[in-house]
Every structure is written in C-alpha cells, then in structure tokens.
C-alpha cells in the first residue's frame, strides 16, 4: 500500500497544482487575480482535494475525474486563510513562510481576493462534468453548507469572539464545537463529496462521515501539538503562537502526552470506520495515519 500511496499522493497533488494554476491563469478583468494566485499557488498540502480524491478511490472511482470539485474545495480553503490573516481577524503577517496576502497587496485587495476565490470556487465546482447533475447539485450544496455560517464561518466566528473578548476562555466542549465547525466541516465536505461524486451507497457515506469527524479531531489535536513542539521552518510560522495568545488548546487542557494519546485514538477510530470498504480505502487510511507523523 505504502508504495502505491507514495505514488498516488504526489501525482494527485501535482494534478491539483496544475489545475489551480490553469483555472486562474487566463486573462482577467482586473489585477485581483494576482493576489488570488499569490495565495492560492503558494504550495500547501492540498489536504482537502486529496481527501476528496482518496474517498472517491475508496468508493471505487477514478479520482482524477473530480478535479473541478476537489480544486474548488482548495479555493474555499485559500479564501478562508486570506480572510483569517486580516488585521481585523487573526492579524497574522506570515502564512506558509511568506508574507500574508494583505501584507503584500493591502487590506482591500486581500478582502477582495478572498471574495473572488469564494465565488470562483462555486463556478469551478459547478463546471464538474461526468456526474449526474442531481448528484452534483447535492454535493456542491453540501459543500456550501459546510463553508457557511453552520460550518467554517460559524466556527471562525466563535474563535474570533473568544479571542477578542477579554477574559473569555472557551471550555473544552466549546473548543471542540468550534473546531468541528472551523476546520472539521470542510474536511467532512471533502470526504463526503468524494463519496457522493463516486456514487457511494448510504452505508459507505455514513462510514465516510465517521472517518471525517475523527480525522478532523486528530488533525486539530496534532495542530495544537505542533504549535508547541513543531519546527518553525517546517511550519512556516512561529511555534508557541497559541500559548502567547492564551488560547485553550488540547495541549494546555490535557498536557502533551495525553494529547498525543488522544490524537492516536481518533486516528484509530477513523481507520476503524473504513472497515466497510473491505480494504479498498487504503489512501484514506494513509492520510489518517500520516497525521501523527506530520511536521506542518
């Protein structure tokens, strides 16, 4: 499996990078695409497109067919990072080891680049061919839900409010609710979309939801761990930034050792959920198990 994975993921990541560059590479009305491309083509793990494609492979489809929807998810992710970094939001100057969009192009352009990416993502996703149109409508609608006020934007609202309200600390329960929405919802959208586009039956879709929930929690816990133990060069930002902001994290709540144990437990549950695929979900398994080893 590992040999296949070592082949699959780099080749799929390359497809994603090429598609994103091509989609945003044409002539354009204004120079907002310059800011869009600066942020969108800055590398990144392309985790959401890869999750979508790994889920589609688990359900028996050739995942390279689903590049439009997969890349739309990456465009939504990229928009959210640009807006999160704004001075009025998290006020971060660096992203992926280079200056944040608003530091290079100014605040107005960064707001507009995010807005452009979000609308553009839907145009790209709705251009997906080769699937029944009712399936496409259902899939993109689910993605819109996960990106909106009951998903990513809702989670970011809870996070920002906690950060900007003096003396307000989230409880562990609130922290989990926030993460399930802020980062978890788009992971769920990615995994579900892969299954839906591939025509997975309900039993498999339920398993994918279960996988995605545990994947999201494991991702967040390892994120908190990396903020304490990570190599700033690999992460592209300073370590310890959560602690400096006095944010509650899985590490501050449980200690490093327990947090690591919890992350492993969620990876285990994610892998367990894949049992219904009869060994065909190797790429999803690889992505989950790799969370523990990740460096950024």
């Amino acid at each position: 499996m590992n040999t296949r994975c070592e082949d699959f993921f780099p080749s799929r990541r390359r497809l994603v990078d090429e598609y994103l560059a091509e989609v945003t590479g044409g002539e354009s009305l204004s120079d907002i695409t310059e800011a869009v491309r600066y942020s969108l083509l800055a590398g990144g793990k392309r985790l959401r497109p890869l999750l979508l494609m790994a889920a589609a492979e688990a359900a028996g489809a050739d995942s390279a067919r689903f590049l439009p929807v997969a890349c739309g998810l990456e465009m939504i992710h990229a928009y959210s990072l640009i807006h999160d970094d704004l001075p009025a939001m998290d006020d971060d100057d660096y992203r992926r080891g280079r200056l944040a969009c608003h530091k290079v192009f100014g605040e107005a352009k960064a707001i507009l680049a995010g807005d452009a990416l979000l609308a553009w993502a839907f145009e790209v996703m709705l251009g997906q061919g080769g699937v029944p149109q009712d399936v496409l409508v259902k899939t993109v609608k689910e993605i819109a839900f996960c990106a909106g006020p009951e998903g990513m934007v809702g989670g970011q609202t809870i996070d920002i409010e906690a950060e900007q309200t003096a003396g307000k600390n989230l409880s562990l329960e609130e922290l989990q609710k926030m993460h399930r929405a802020k980062t978890g919802a788009l992971f769920r959208a990615a995994v579900l979309a892969g299954g839906m586009l591939a025509g997975a039956p309900d039993g498999q879709l339920a398993a994918l939801k279960d996988y995605a929930g545990n994947f999201g929690l494991a991702f967040q816990i390892t994120d908190d761990i990396l903020d304490v133990t990570g190599d700033p060069a690999a992460m592209g930002k300073k370590a310890g930034s959560d602690a400096r902001k006095n944010k509650i994290t899985y590490v501050s709540a449980f200690g490093l050792e327990q947090a690591e144990k919890l992350a492993r437990a969620h990876v285990g549950k994610a892998v367990l959920a894949l049992a219904v695929f009869d060994g065909e979900a190797g790429y999803l398994r690889f992505l989950a198990e790799n969370l523990i080893a990740r460096k950024n």
Copy 2:
C-alpha cells in the same frame, strides 16, 4: 399594465422579504447570523430578485416558484454591500439610513457576515426545486461567474484601485467597464437566471442579455444623477459623496442634462430589446421605465 405592476411588485417583494427572514431565522451555531440579518433584512429595493422574477414572467413562468435563486441573488448583493462599506474599502458608516454592519458589529464580524452570506447564498440557490437539475447547475454557475473576479468582484477591484491610487482617474471607457462588472454583472445574472429557470429559448435569452446591459447602464447613470440631485432622506446617505471623493461620474463627464438624456436612451434600448416577447414582458418594461423616476 400599471395596475398589474402595482400589484405584482409589492407582492413579490413581500415574498422575498419573508423568504429571506425565514431562511436566516433558524437556530444557529454562532451569533454571526445576527449581523447577517441586520444587513440582509434592512429593507432595500430587492431589485435583483424582482428582475429575476420579472424575466421569468416574461418567459411565461410563474415567478414565485423561483424564490430560492432570486433570494440567493439578494444575499450576494447584501454581502457585497457589507464588504464595500468596510474601512479598508469604501469606509462608509451608513447604509440605507442606518449604521453600516461594521459600525454595529465591528470589522471582524462584518467580514465574516459577508463571507457567511456568500456561501449561504449558494446553499440556498442549490436548494431550488422544480427545475431540471442541469438547468439549475447552468444557472447558478452563471451567477457565480457574474459575482466573481470577471464580474462584481473584478469591478469593485477596479473601483477601489482608482479611488486609492493618488492621481488616478478612470477614463469614461474605464468607468463603463468598471460599472458593467461591479453592478451590471449581477443585474445580467438576475435577468438571465429568470429566463434560464423559466426555460426561455435562445432568442429570448439574447434579448434578456441586451435588456440587462442597457438596464445596468441606465441604473448607473441615474445613480450618479441621484448622487447630485437626490434627497438624502430617501437615499439613506448624503448626496454629493461621489463629488467629494473626486470620482468621475456620468454627471461630471457629461453634465446633468446630457446624463439624463443618456439614461433615457438606455431605458429606451432596454424596452426595445423586449419586443421578442410579444407584449408579455410588461414587468421588465416597468422596472426599466421606473429607473428614471426612482428616488433612491
């Protein structure tokens, strides 16, 4: 016709207001919906939903069926106003006679409320029932295009750049290009969407495009005229704000009298384009002719 119009538009506007209130009225994950509702339910002409419904009627459909897509357009419009008013953008404190979203909820919430509305709009639109799913995909994709970097966001970029670059003044040609994208694209999306959802044949769709282009120009010219001659109370903002910002407008370029003549000419062309509908496009005609008489 006028009797029918005096009935049609208020009743349709009421349906739109009710639908928007209902869609955003449920329980929600965070309090971002408070900021969303503050801006979305603040009244407004609901011109984009009305254009969609008037076009659908022209093509022979019962337009009340298309509330989800019609209201999605209004949500996109509302998001754009929230972001346009931000300090980093146009920096306006008032909108529709009340404090702008960011003055009430702060900048972070205003950015997030706009983001929430844009994603939410696509979820609502993709919930449209009663039309073939391939028609829905094509229609919403067209709306996404018109809202994105080659439409509304691209136009706003050109506008902001001209405003924030010292000594940069748009030529009349650039001004028209900017307006065609910034406000014209969403009008075109609205009118075309109404025709597409109603199953209008290509000849009617071409006529609707022609109508929408002229409607957009007439709208923008009367907007510029109102900025000089308008009643601040009716507009909900101070008159003369363009002149204070030293913006080129149709009035500054042509003078008031010529601008009024030009607006009437575009209304005339818009109405002329409706000939293919054999007198069935009365609502679209009413909306165009009303531009000249509008007070806000």
